[in-house]
């Protein structure tokens, strides 16, 4: 008997997460990508857009058009979708704190083009919980943020029924260090928090609630341990089915299906021998397509060079071709679920489900995921998991080819080009966006703008659904910063716990006793030589919220004896310099992953000089191309660490030497 299906399955939606510089440049890129066979769009917004600031806000300096496209008002949105039919496109927007706003701009644009919003399909990520834990583009406190999510859900269910209003993300939890069990548990807790909030709003009738459940989709990560990852997705399916039936009484099994999109793991991509990332990405994709019953609905793959800098169009094309080979050349889509009936898979799934149930019960006992975030519990768990991963890499227990083993390599022709194998952003993008925004402000009707903003503010205060007034704002020409500020004035701003207040893990410390003991001795003797214990300021300038690296450095520095000041994310260079002054630190460490390191590090150096702190050494870490690292060194940065510097002990030893040098003491050299 032929075990093949009579009909080949339809492939998943193929996307590439992209956007940069300006709406015009991104539109050109989208149209090229669609012509290459991409079947949906995945919009990357820049950080000012994600955090509700206008391009000319001081906090936006250096960030405009860097990690995505700047969208400041409806004209930008129009340009972004120039010649792209909104009613036929499936558009995913990676947007969270400002999701209601970007969705309003999209709906407003559709209305302006005479398209019925009921025809729009796509997804707004719109998951604030993982922003507090990992991604960092939150704005408002948990209460109002959850309300905004509930508002978009209840609005789209009624008016934009094909839209996925929220994409519960476990993706970023894995990037922050989550184990598969933690990923399952916290993502499902987040989904429950959202559904409970919608239920409590009373806007949805009981018999319509199953439609809300059906619209909840997930955004999942897949790492290199692809058997376990595949089991994780099967576990997700089982648990979601059980949860939606038991807790939300959804009777129709079709509405209980676990629907998810994927971006495979970026955490495991390496800067050394970056070509190896290609096979990593393909294997990771295998985890989310292999099992038909747990197959992804939409996939976007990172590019091979993501750990080095921004990918070029050719790099993104390569990522798309990987998907196409999997979908169209292999026979994968010809079969039913090939893992059904495997006792090995079933046992692994069972183990994950049981672990996740236990952790969910643990979170519920603390009053739910929001309470567990506010108390710092979840973040601490993630920081601890991430630290264990880093220690396993340092010890060689976790093997990463080209990083902690098999490091020898012939010179790669891929990185030899004049561009170093990465994309250069347009340095004039920021200025042009600001000019465009300022011209827009002059051209709009101020009375309309003021009235629309008043309506927004009133709705925010009264608790009325935020979407109708936001769409009016979009049509009136309100800017992203104005929308964000109006709600800041009503809701206030929020900073979640940093999670770095975890206890020193003695077991792990004992495992590496020699190096850690040596480091502690060096930190102590250097402190004695300069007169007081070494004090370090870890700062994250700019709008980038990816704080995992900064947190790991802060915790490690504490473990080897530094007194560490860490103020969390989103600080201006001025604030960082002021903290350096007030705290009397011996060194400032900056972490930047958004690509705006040149502007931000330069600003911090200037601010330090203005405070007569030019002798305080500055180090920088992040995704910093070698060419930029050289320029930073020329400006006075003492050391630059990139993803290839995976060994924290080595970094710590170097940091001590940088401080020694700045204080006229001899370097102690590498650890024995």
């Amino acid at each position: 008997m032929d075990s093949r299906q009579t009909k080949r399955d339809r492939p998943w939606l193929m996307r590439t997460y992209s956007g940069h510089s300006s709406a015009r440049a991104s539109n050109a890129l989208y149209r090229t990508n669609l012509a290459k066979g991409q079947t949906g769009l995945s919009v990357a917004f820049d950080l000012p857009t994600q955090t509700g600031y206008d391009a000319d806000n001081p906090l936006a300096r250096g960030e405009v058009g860097k990690v995505g496209v700047p969208i400041s008002h409806i004209e930008d949105m129009d340009q972004l979708f120039d010649q792209i039919p909104l009613d036929q496109m499936n558009t995913a927007m990676t947007i969270n704190a400002t999701a209601p706003w970007l969705l309003s701009l999209y709906i407003g644009l559709a209305q302006r083009r005479g398209i019925d919003p009921g025809q729009l399909s796509g997804t707004t990520q719109n998951d604030i919980i993982k922003e507090y834990l990992s991604r960092g583009t939150y704005i408002y406190p948990p209460g109002p943020s959850m309300r905004l999510i509930a508002d978009t859900i209840t609005y789209t269910i009624k008016h934009v029924p094909k839209w996925n209003p929220t994409n519960i993300c476990s993706y970023h939890l894995q990037e922050a260090g989550a184990t598969p069990v933690q990923e399952l548990a916290y993502a499902l807790c987040a989904a429950m928090a959202v559904l409970d909030r919608v239920q409590a709003s009373g806007e949805i009738k009981t018999d319509e609630f199953s439609q809300v459940v059906e619209r909840i989709s997930f955004f999942v990560n897949a790492g290199i341990r692809f058997v376990e990852e595949c089991c994780k997705l099967r576990a997700f399916g089982e648990m979601w089915d059980e949860l939606t039936l038991g807790r939300y009484r959804v009777d129709d099994p079709k509405l209980r299906r676990f629907r998810y999109g994927v971006q495979v793991n970026s955490l495991g991509l390496t800067e050394p021998q970056p070509e190896n990332n290609v096979q990593r990405i393909v294997l990771e994709m295998l985890a989310v397509v292999l099992s038909k019953g747990a197959r992804a609905r939409a996939i976007q793959l990172p590019a091979w060079n993501e750990a080095m800098g921004l990918p070029r169009p050719w790099d993104q094309q390569w990522a798309l071709r990987m998907q196409q080979v999997m979908a169209f050349e292999t026979d994968l889509l010809e079969y039913e679920d090939i893992l059904d009936g495997s006792p090995v898979i079933a046992a692994k799934v069972k183990q994950l489900v049981e672990g996740a149930r236990k952790e969910i019960a643990n979170v519920e006992a603390q009053g739910g995921i929001i309470a567990a975030i506010e108390s710092g519990y979840v973040k601490r768990e993630l920081v601890a998991s991430h630290m264990q991963r880093l220690r396993a890499i340092e010890s060689g227990e976790l093997k990463i080819i080209g990083v902690n083993c098999f490091q020898e390599s012939a010179e790669s022709p891929l990185t030899l080009g004049s561009d170093g194998g990465i994309m250069k952003t347009d340095p004039s993008a920021e200025r042009e966006q600001i000019e465009r925004l300022q011209a827009h402000r002059k051209n709009r009707n101020d009375a309309d703008v003021q009235a629309a903003l008043q309506g927004l503010s009133d709705a925010a205060k009264s608790g009325e659904n935020i979407m109708p007034s936001s769409i009016r704002c979009a049509m009136a020409g309100v800017s992203t910063g104005e929308w964000g500020d109006s709600l800041r004035a009503v809701f206030g701003e929020f900073r979640p716990p940093t999670g770095i207040d975890i206890a020193i893990d003695n077991r792990a410390v004992l495992g590496k006793k020699d190096e850690v003991t040596e480091l502690r001795a060096r930190v102590a003797s250097t402190g004695a030589a300069v007169g007081r214990p070494l004090k370090l300021l870890v700062g994250k300038p700019g709008l980038d919220g990816h704080s995992n690296g900064a947190e790991q450095v802060a915790v490690k520095a504490r473990d080897v004896g530094f007194e560490v000041v860490y103020d969390g994310i989103r600080l201006t260079p001025q604030e960082i310099a002021q903290a350096a002054e007030e705290e009397g630190v011996h060194m400032v460490g900056l972490s930047i992953l958004s690509g705006s390191h040149m502007e931000l590090v330069t600003s911090v150096l200037e601010e330090l000089r203005a405070r007569d702190l030019a002798t305080v050494p500055v180090i920088a870490g992040g995704i910093i191309p070698q060419e930029d690292a050289k320029k930073l060194a020329a400006q006075g940065v003492s050391a630059v660490y990139t993803p290839k510097d995976f060994n924290l002990n080595t970094i710590m030893a170097d940091m001590v030497d940088v401080i020694r040098e700045a204080n006229g003491l001899a370097r102690l050299g590498p650890l024995p």
Partner: protein, 345 residues
């Protein structure tokens, strides 16, 4: 951390972190220059012998009428999780609104010496309200495993900050002994309690309750539990023999809802004027200064060293004669002890 010989501050710059001229620095601190405050705090923290000499001169230059009568030094303590930092943040917002400048010394625990002695200082992020405020200065400190939970450096640093800010707040995590330490620093000590917590019950039992002047029950938005805790404290707060005529108020506050802060501030101001009118403020600060001197001498030389210059009674007498500025006298006593140690070899 031994203070060695009484030498002049070096005139030439040895390293990039060369020592400042202490008298000049004091003038700048009194002019409330932030950079000078930062520099001064670094100096007071510096254990190198030549830095110690500069420190003594700096403290002496900052001592005077103002250091005995000016400003308000407030100690805030309470169990972990009571919301001290959020409350301090809310308090600062009110003080800043009223145009008063604030200096904060936030003390966090260090890890044990055998675990490297490092510390994570996470209070800034919780205390700060505005991105940029020239009228607020926060210095985080690790307690460096000193007995009592408050590092020895806190007292001289408070002294320096009093010269530059209207209000100086010392925030510590209460772990029993800390309250005793903070009582030897603050003009006014405020204990922050959280409703329905075991810590507060323990606290009530321990007798340490006799130390705070003001109680703030935080998270009053919890309602009944907060009232109950306030009631328990009100009944237990000891009234006998400490500062006569002071009523030990118990305030219900909510840092998150920003309620009760004005009343709490009213009580701080009332306590300060109570101390001033009763002539207690100068006495208190002098007493705290003496307590610090004794602590420094005892930490460095032990009881044996203290006996070498006639014991605690003699030290007390000598300090009494140095009303207002005991830092130089402290240094003289150190030198005497050191020379006796040497001659007894």
């Amino acid at each position: 951390m031994v203070w060695r010989g009484w030498v002049r501050c070096p005139d030439h710059q040895m390293t990039p972190a060369a020592l400042p001229d202490p008298e000049q620095l004091a003038l700048r601190i009194l002019r409330r220059e932030r950079a000078a405050v930062a520099r001064g705090l670094n100096l007071l923290d510096n254990k190198l012998a030549e830095a110690r000499q500069c420190s003594v001169r700096l403290l002496a230059a900052l001592s005077g009428e103002h250091s005995l009568n000016g400003g308000h030094l407030i100690g805030i303590t309470g169990p972990p999780g009571a919301g001290k930092s959020s409350l301090v943040s809310a308090m600062i917002r009110e003080w800043r609104r009223a145009g008063r400048t604030v200096g904060v010394l936030a003390v966090d625990p260090s890890s044990r010496p055998e675990l490297g002695g490092g510390a994570l200082l996470g209070d800034r992020i919780r205390i700060k309200n505005a991105a940029h405020d020239e009228g607020l200065f926060i210095r985080s400190l690790a307690n460096r495993n000193q007995l009592g939970g408050v590092a020895t450096e806190v007292w001289p640093m408070s002294w320096l900050m009093l010269a530059a800010f209207d209000i100086v707040v010392v925030e510590t995590v209460g772990v029993g002994q800390t309250e005793i330490d903070i009582a030897e620093i603050g003009d006014t000590v405020c204990y922050v309690a959280q409703p329905a917590s075991g810590d507060t019950i323990q606290y009530l039992k321990s007798g340490i309750i006799e130390i705070p002047d003001i109680f703030a029950v935080n998270k009053s938005d919890l309602g009944a539990a907060a009232y109950k805790t306030a009631g328990e404290i009100g009944r237990s707060a000891s009234r006998q023999d400490r500062r006569d005529d002071w009523d030990y108020p118990v305030c219900l506050v909510s840092a998150t809802m920003n309620t009760g802060i004005t009343e709490l501030h009213g009580n701080f101001d009332r306590h300060r004027s109570f101390l001033a009118h009763a002539g207690l403020l100068q006495k208190l600060r002098t007493r705290h200064q003496s307590a610090w001197v004794v602590r420094v001498l005892k930490e460095e030389f032990g009881t044996f060293g203290v006996e070498l210059i006639g014991g605690y009674a003699e030290i007390g007498k000598r300090l009494e004669a140095q009303y207002g500025n005991q830092f130089e006298e402290c240094e003289r006593m150190r030198q005497q002890i050191i020379s006796r140690f040497k001659s007894s070899d």
